[in-house]
Symmetry: C2
Subunit: 341 residues, 2 copies
């Protein structure tokens, strides 16, 4: 089997370049791609640049052998596309840094590359540069994605106002449930397993919806869910210096997730609120703009958009209102990579 050691770094780079050239879209604004000291891009006049970076590390974010390389590539790119979308922008150029082992199979790196393209091609975005290095201790995929947004249209985490409605797209919590199923195995209805495991292995992103939301000019704050609903809404609270009140009863719970919760005797809301990587969006806007924003977001591709609570004036006060009227403190329940593990 061909490996990195057998074809060498430059050999592998040639293979990757060939896939990018023959299977990738042309993109726009790329003046010089891989093959020089740097990639060269022409920014669009009237646009600001958005730059994000997310790494996936073997053993922490994926287990080599347990995930198909093409899904790994898709997922790594989705994480980054989602961040651009959460600013209201559009992804344009990706730079991919791979840490690989001597015995990394070439076909896996090729499949990984195809995973990147599956996510980038529909958005007319490209892999335009990168780096390969040997990382004997553990492989990693580190992507820097550059996008852009019309000047003045970006939506930050810091713009939420007291009284704002809190909206969320889709059905968060499914990806984490899917991961649980993968780790624990059986005991679930077949069709539910499929839906939840797919949510984990092949998550989507809401970049088009984020852009549509930004274009309404009515969205005050936006973030994508990568640390879990509570964790990410907490980031909005912190950056906006406001509080939040989330109504348990209003939370969107998918049918597969609800059935899994019932079967296990758990509260569905706990599974929606906790750590998850669904890459849905949380948005805030004035109550009178809820219909406008919902319409713009769901108009893109029919995504569910649910109003789940309100931003409140008191910074640091972050509560979940339960069905019986009682309240729980929701602060510090977010996901912290180091403190938790």
């Amino acid at each position: 089997m061909e490996t990195l050691a057998s074809i060498g770094e430059f050999g592998l780079i040639r293979r990757i370049r060939r896939i990018l050239e023959t299977e990738g879209v042309e993109g726009s604004g790329v003046i010089a791609g891989a093959g020089d000291d740097t990639a060269v891009f022409a920014p669009r006049p009237g646009y600001d640049l958005l730059v994000t970076c997310d790494a996936m590390v073997e053993g922490r974010h994926y287990l080599a052998g347990a995930v198909e390389p093409i899904d790994l590539g898709r997922r790594a790119m989705v994480m980054n596309i989602s961040d651009i979308g959460a600013m209201g922008g559009w992804p344009r150029w990706a730079v991919v840094s791979l840490g690989l082992a001597d015995d990394s199979p070439v076909k896996d790196v090729e499949a990984l590359t195809r995973g990147f393209l599956e996510e980038l091609n529909p958005l007319n975005a490209v892999v335009a540069g990168g780096n390969i290095t040997k990382a004997a201790g553990g492989t990693f995929i580190d992507i820097t994605l550059i996008g852009d947004v019309e000047t003045g249209r970006k939506v930050l985490r810091s713009g939420a106002q007291p009284g704002d409605a809190i909206l969320v797209t889709g059905y968060p919590g499914q990806a984490a449930a899917g991961l649980e199923i993968l780790l624990q195995g059986k005991g679930h209805e077949a069709e539910d397993v499929q839906a939840l495991v797919d949510a984990y292995l092949r998550p989507g992103q809401r970049a088009r919806e984020g852009q549509a939301a930004a274009r309404t000019a009515r969205v005050h704050a936006m973030i994508d869910i990568s640390d879990g609903f509570l964790g990410d809404l907490g980031h909005i609270c912190e950056e906006s210096r406001v509080g939040a009140e989330v109504v348990e009863e209003a939370l969107p719970v998918s049918e597969p997730l609800r059935r899994m919760a019932v079967k296990q005797g758990r509260r569905p809301a706990d599974m929606v609120l906790a750590a998850s990587d669904d890459y849905e969006l949380i948005l805030t806007c004035a109550p009178e703009d809820v219909e406008c924003v919902k319409g713009a977001v769901s108009g893109v591709a029919g995504a569910a958009v649910t109003e789940v609570g309100r931003m409140t004036p008191e910074a640091g006060r972050f509560e979940v209102v339960h069905i019986d009227g009682s309240r729980s403190d929701a602060t510090a329940k977010g996901w912290d990579h180091f403190a938790r593990s």
Copy 2:
């Protein structure tokens, strides 16, 4: 001792942010830095963007404990600044992705951050975003650096012409000699040890010189030396589809390197041409422009600029002309991370 595990990911991010805010320059064009889904930048009208990415992996590019974290930070940033300089551009915004261990000391990450700033501050460039993840198998530092260059002024690897003079800045080969000394220990003159080891541990870069060279509009091709003189000149040959002839006698050999070669019975030229990370520049230009380019480059800060050979018409023919008139084939002697190790 404080570690990542003890203060958590978000705690560490706060520490890094504080250092960046109090010890970093303000930079320019940063609309929103760390703390949102993405960083946001305003590109300069009339400029193209340059994006480069280089990773350093523990065990491969550094041994934890053997290198001071501040030097590691400087070195990681220098590698990237050098790539921007080799395009004729100016570094502006860095995005830093760190893979860390639970027991990584907080003070080391702080020192690493100060190393980044030592290199960025004098150039009015900033760390404007990043990512931290746990990488139990081995730590890494992956930097994406964004710079810019006046539209039309960039210098690619692919522009070399047959007959071009080949110029090189400084004294390549010293960094590799310094690494040898570190790995093998004694047997060298004290002052030579210092100079060579410093070249390895605390390399400089030639971004200002690269920009000055590009502004002459006389430079046909440029690259920075990170794979070694022969390897990087080979990249120019390949991308420009030309050959090259390097004259051994003309190569710049520093006095410390010459003394080390003599003491060990080696040819100094071999040490200049082989794999090294000196981050000097190789430039090509028409013979009649050599004085102009030399003047512009050495005018920045007095760097030595040496003419060492000519580009030749035959693609794939890449030779070193020795002092006795004999010739060696220099192809395939470059550095290949995987095939070599």
